[in-house]
């Protein structure tokens, strides 16, 4: 039994070389590497926010000043430095994206894998996922966020709770094609427990899809969080990119001062585009036919 298991485990060891080949192909893609660089810079900015800029609070003397040496991104209607707001906003936006996508991925993958592996559960899971996907998500998030009151935890839970069906949809379709493959039957014949088969054989097979889901769910979470904040449902006590836009709209600053909305929008676009490009580059690198070697 031990030898069989060890033999089967060597299948998963092949994944290491596959991963290395993927990484080698990924490194050759300039767009993918630039995107990784941008993402790293944004994360570093988020972590080091206190070192880069002072927390924007209170009132300043220079109200609605355009970008200058003193205020790189200009100032808002209360004279606060927009560069500092964007830097501190990166922190909250990335934290929300990371936490909510982690939660959504955890729920989504477990549901997808269980559904694909146990056909009886799949009929129910498939229907529920289809039903969830046909609901308009943002209005639902608005309803819950308004009822539960704005806070970081509410935002993370709301976004995660309405994002997992999309993860399940993607992972489940991949898992369904994997469980039909002969090696899954072979794994069952060795007498391994369902848990072992799922962990050792099913999960590694769907891992690439999960990687792509993580990136896409996180970037969609950034947009959802910004959408809620733009409607005034964000955490009112901390800065986020959506809140900068909300403030600009509420004060009417957006009608005269383009810098109040341009810079947070650019930050958001940069984050989401680089995440999307990373997932595209990763997909290309993983596909041997798209690789040039």
């Amino acid at each position: 039994m031990t030898t069989t298991v060890a033999g089967l485990d060597s299948v998963t060891n092949d994944q290491v070389t596959a991963a290395r080949a993927t990484w080698a192909a990924f490194r050759r893609n300039p767009l993918g590497m630039v995107s990784v660089g941008i993402l790293v810079v944004l994360v570093v900015v988020a972590i080091c926010a206190p070192l880069i800029a002072e927390y924007p609070s209170g009132y300043g003397d220079a109200v609605l000043q355009g970008p200058s040496g003193a205020h790189w991104f200009g100032t808002d209607s209360l004279g606060r430095d927009i560069f500092a707001e964007v830097v501190w906003g990166a922190r909250l936006s990335i934290v929300i994206a990371a936490l909510s996508s982690a939660l959504a991925i955890a729920i989504g993958v477990v549901v997808a894998v269980l559904g694909a592996y146990f056909p009886k559960a799949d009929a129910v899971i498939g229907t529920i996922v289809d039903l969830c996907l046909s609901l308009p998500v943002l209005p639902l998030m608005i309803l819950v966020a308004a009822l539960a009151g704005p806070s970081l935890i509410t935002l993370v839970l709301v976004i995660a709770f309405f994002s997992w069906p999309e993860v399940t949809r993607v992972v489940r379709s991949q898992a369904l094609s994997v469980v039909r493959l002969p090696y899954m039957d072979a794994a069952k014949l060795t007498g391994g427990s369902s848990f072992w088969i799922i962990r050792k054989h099913l999960l590694p097979a769907v891992a690439p899809v999960i990687v792509v889901s993580v990136v896409l769910t996180a970037s969609r979470a950034v947009l959802s969080a910004a959408g809620l904040a733009f409607l005034g449902l964000g955490d009112p006590n901390s800065w986020s990119w959506g809140r900068i836009l909300y403030d600009a709209q509420q004060s009417g600053a957006m009608q005269s001062a383009w810098w109040t909305t341009l810079f947070p929008s650019l930050a958001m676009l940069l984050l989401v585009v680089s995440a999307t490009l990373i997932s595209i580059a990763y997909n290309d690198a993983r596909n041997p036919r798209a690789r040039e070697d």
Binding site: L135, P136, P139, S265
Partner: protein, 321 residues
């Protein structure tokens, strides 16, 4: 014929199931969220008598199961409750807004398809050409755009700087007759284009890749071999098959489109349901919020059902499956 009837019946059945699901989710959310539903429903400013009346109207003293039954019964009669802010039935508040949202979402969908199909065809027929590269880059960026950002910039440049188009609302007061329609169309341009820009990317990218695949299929090779002009091969043979995944995409994107409409209407002060949601949030008008969600879910479900039926027309195999 019976197959078509059965296909249609099954789709309608699924639509009804989805509506029931949306309604049940709303009910459970209202009851299970932290805090007493009585507190969420009754505003603290009400007199005790009014509060009691409202609570009994919502049947909040009944067991959960009975409340659920009553809630469904009320919904079936089109009763969504009374707006806190305006003291009129929620249906009245929402019905005056629904046409604007339908106008906005439907026109932006039409515009997206009208721009997206030619763009996707052009990109797919000259792969790796300049236009193809441009569409791919534009598609990725378009998919990553934040709807309010797009709206704000269109509003700033076209509305405020160049004074080409009105910056908000859905029509100007005091305009009647044919001029009114022109005025409405003018007010529609900016919100509609904003929504189109954020949707266009995924349609063009999907159509491009499916069309490239379709053009490599044997039936297209044969069509070319027998001397059919290339334009005809693309538009008559390949496109019909390539449009199937695009039709599926419309269904998948509908929920997203409605979310985008909520944000767009907020930017442009467009008097649709989305703007209504925004106002309901600021006024904590929960019956309106809840009703708006049910109505939007209903819209999405009906539109989804129509896309499914259109899919059946495009692809005969679906009807028998």
């Amino acid at each position: 014929m019976t197959q078509v009837v059965r296909f249609t019946a099954r789709r309608i059945g699924r639509a009804l199931l989805t509506v029931w699901f949306a309604v049940t989710v709303t009910f459970l959310l209202l009851r299970l969220l932290p805090g007493d539903p009585a507190l969420a429903v009754a505003s603290p400013n009400m007199t005790p008598a009014a509060r009691l009346e409202l609570l009994s109207q919502y049947g909040l003293d009944d067991p959960l199961f009975v409340q659920y039954g009553k809630y469904l019964w009320q919904l079936l009669h089109g009763n969504l409750g009374i707006s806190f802010a305006r003291q009129v039935p929620v249906t009245e508040v929402l019905m005056e807004r629904l046409p604007w949202t339908l106008l906005l979402t439907f026109s932006s969908l039409l515009l997206t398809v009208a721009v997206g199909i030619p763009l996707g065809v052009l990109a797919a027929t000259r792969p790796r050409g300049f236009l193809d590269r441009f569409t791919q880059v534009g598609g990725v960026i378009g998919q990553s755009l934040f709807v309010p950002s797009v709206g704000i910039f269109l509003l700033f440049f076209l509305g405020l700087q160049l004074h080409l188009l009105p910056i908000g609302g859905s029509y100007s007061p005091g305009v009647y007759g044919a001029a009114w329609y022109l005025d409405v169309a003018k007010h529609l341009v900016l919100p509609c284009v904003s929504l189109m820009l954020v949707q266009l990317g995924s349609y063009v990218l999907t159509l491009r890749s499916t069309l490239i695949d379709a053009l490599g299929e044997d039936y297209c090779v044969l069509a070319r071999a027998k001397g059919m002009p290339n334009r005809k091969v693309v538009w008559k043979h390949a496109l019909r098959n390539a449009l199937l995944p695009t039709t599926t995409l419309i269904g998948l994107q509908l929920g997203y489109l409605v979310g985008g409409a909520v944000l767009t209407e907020t930017v442009f002060a467009y008097p649709g349901i989305g703007r209504g949601i925004y106002e309901a949030v600021t006024q904590l008008d929960f019956p309106v919020l809840q009703g708006a969600f049910v109505l939007l879910a209903l819209t999405v479900v009906i539109a989804n059902m129509l896309t499914d039926l259109a899919y059946g027309v495009l692809d005969p195999r679906v009807r028998t499956a």
